[in-house]
Amino acid sequence: MSTRVLGRNVPKKDAATKVRGSRRFPQDFDREGELHAKVVWSEFPHARVVKVDASKAEALPGVVKVLTAADVPVNKYGIIIDDQPVLVREGDKVRWLGDRIAIVVAESEAAAREARRLVEVQYDPLPVVSDPREAMKPEAPLVHDERGDSNVFRHIKVRKGDWEKGFAEADVVVESYYHTPYVEHVYMQPDAGIGYIDEEVRVTVISSAQWPDHDLRQIAPMLDLPQEQVREIVPAIGGAFGGREDMHIQHLLALCAYVLQRPVKMVFDRSEVMTRTGKRHPWYVKYRTGAKKDGTLTAVEIEIVADSGGHASTTVPVIEAGTSFSAGPYVVPNAKVDSYAVYTNNAVTMAMRGFGATQAAFIYEMQMSKLADALGMDPVELRMKNLFEDGSIALTGHAMPPGVGIKEALREAALAAGWKEENGHWVRPELGPPSAPHKRRGLAVACGLKNVGYSFGSDDKATVGVQLALDQSGQIERVTVLSGACDVGMGAQTVLAQMAAEALDVDYDQVRVSLVDTVKVPDSGSCSASRLVWISGNALVRACQEALQKRDQILIAESGETFVEAEHEFHGRSVHETHPYDPETGMTVPHFAYGYAAQIALVEVDTETGETEILKFWAAQDVGKAVNPGMVKGQSAGGVHMGVGYALTEEYIQQEGVPKTRYLADYYVPTVMDMPHEFTSITVEVPDPSGPYGAKGVGEMTTLPTAPVVISAIHDAVGVWIDEFPATAERVWWATRQQGQPRE
């Protein structure tokens, strides 16, 4: 088989139009006769809506209609649990500031903006619960009273081996409390789109999305329409990072178009994205780890409380996934884990790059760094001793499937950073002198793993089609790939084109990937869970093989036919069956495929200001097979960028359910100046036998180790553990002052 396309840095399919600025994002679409819509958002994090009076707003010239709950055919939705009202009706509750009361539709954006201020809403404020640990108590105010008598809506238990015996056998026990922060996705393209009725009378939405077919599964019942009468078109997407798994705007556009039977455009401003859309879950964690003197782990005991905010969104699968990784890529024979999903009146929390594996990586890697410190052991050596290999028994009692590349990733990163393996021991490099007398250098290492695809018994499937245009001799002239795989920027369409070119033995330029339109392409599942390369790739390669067989039959039949198409539906369970958690023991086979990352950071901390600078960074990721090495490097650097913000600067602050972080100026996303001065991306290729050409996923794994590696390096520099992060200059400065003078 030729490898002329796979593994090469071919130009991304969308690159030229993106550098020209000609590629259209959702806000760049307009239609003849379009109206403009603005949302009337809740003014309280918890309150009963007493009265909604839109008369003044509707009297404003240019206003066409103010939609309220009465205009929504079936007024509920939700990505997994339909616990969210589309518009809150009089007498019902708002549960966070992202709940909506009404939508103002006008002839101009200016009129809609002015009119939304004229909608008068009377509220009866209710007690706010803003700390999930308080929300778990029986006396706490209930957020979703209709869903039972507790704010806790999921409790996962893992009981493995004999953890009490495990701790009794331990020579060292490390115990910590962690608090991981909210993160705003900050996709650069604010939510926007247009809804209209298409030529076949379908309610149609043009918008960013991560899973358009699943959006339709929520929109159709909301409008009480069969799914054939709704349609979603996904043009260029300006980033997502999990933030567009939930619908923020699609259902509102569909509703407006359906009610008014006219095109309706809506564009959120940045402040709406910041304060009215979902975030990464904060976790409150108690964690104990026991180990023998030689570093062998004996037991963990973990309690995780995840703040879900006002609605469930994807909190249940996020904590299910996060819990499964809470002991890391390490063999731990005895474990007790309890995880809780809790409603509060804070911002709704949802998927964000890592889907629970990111918070998990912070807690288990901080524990490993502390353990290495307590044992006086090299941090690479401690990890190497406990890391997974093929067949290792993981936290939930299952054997890791073949293709485990975490040791290779850590080894490559450590060697690149200057570690030496001497007499069976790992020896770290000298750090060199700091750049000024008041600065201290620190070096640390961290690992991470994450599932590829949906877990816990979900039937994860992707359907991909391929069309071949042949010449008279049966040679392939052009190829079209049909897939609902949304390209949020990472290059899904390019990867599919490369794989199709490889599978069909044609040039990359002969392959075109169809744009995502639910009436034109099959459902390939979501752009999430680092799954598209693996699962859409698996479907595509099979569709290509089937198309080639059909082509060969045509040639034999000498029919003169010049068009062939094939479609394949690939199921993740065909590789490994997964199952839900056992309710009592938590034992299960949680995931069918994995990806791995290991990172090393050299930092310098200014003891006078508490500021951390990252001098050098080594990021190794085991991707199985790098289909496009340039794009893998982009995922690596992008994941590290997000991890650097998570570790050091990004903080979404709420007080009693009210955001104080309202604009981008309040929320510090790292600039090019804040990135590690030297960055080395190392791609390791330990093939996944079940992946297409051995490929795994990469998008999420690259961000997992970054926060713990940076914060562990801060400890190595100045001797403080920042267990509640981001490790802002202020936090580090105070921590060093509290522990006395920084160590020499």
Binding site: A16, K633, A637, V669
Partner: protein, 160 residues
């Protein structure tokens, strides 16, 4: 309604604007320059960067009437016909764009930088791009693209 007269991408244009209109809205909504992107609306992220008399400006906080009589260059003004500008081509070759929403602004900041400093050091490139936020790439391939563009343009005998 006042009239804004400016030279947009080398051509004189006249357009009626409200006194409070911002340049980004006039460019996008009245002049069809959709390559200029609006993201933060407060001059923080640089997605809306255009050149005004050769200087990089965030058009989301730039009053449209301030452009009266000035030369404004948008991303659409960089390439003519099929050929990409060397900076744009370098962004493609360095696998710099991911989602691409920040990219027009990045390219315009790079253009302003290279117009004034055709041989920037890596530090100068980073300074030149420090007003542009990207959430996807981690910036390294964007910095590589600007380096590559500078090398290629030096080879061609200067900037365009």
């Amino acid at each position: 309604m006042p009239t804004l007269n400016m030279v947009l991408n080398g051509k004189e244009v006249s357009v009626d604007v409200e006194p409070g209109d911002l340049l980004v809205h006039v460019l996008r909504d009245k002049l069809g320059q959709i390559g200029t992107k609006l993201s933060c609306g407060e001059g923080e992220c640089g997605a809306c960067t255009v050149l005004v008399d050769g200087l990089a400006m965030t058009s989301c906080i730039y009053p449209a009437l301030k452009a009266q009589g000035r030369r404004v260059t948008t991303i659409e003004g960089l390439s003519e016909g099929r050929a990409l500008h060397p900076i744009q081509q370098a962004f493609v070759d360095a696998t710099a764009p991911q989602c691409g929403y920040c990219i027009p602004g990045m390219v315009m900041s790079a253009k302003a930088l290279l117009d004034h400093n055709p041989h920037p050091s890596e530090e100068e490139i980073k300074e030149g791009l420090s007003g542009n936020i990207c959430r996807c790439t981690g910036y390294y391939q964007i910095v590589e693209a600007v380096k590559l563009a500078a090398e290629r343009m030096a080879g061609e005998g200067g900037t365009q």
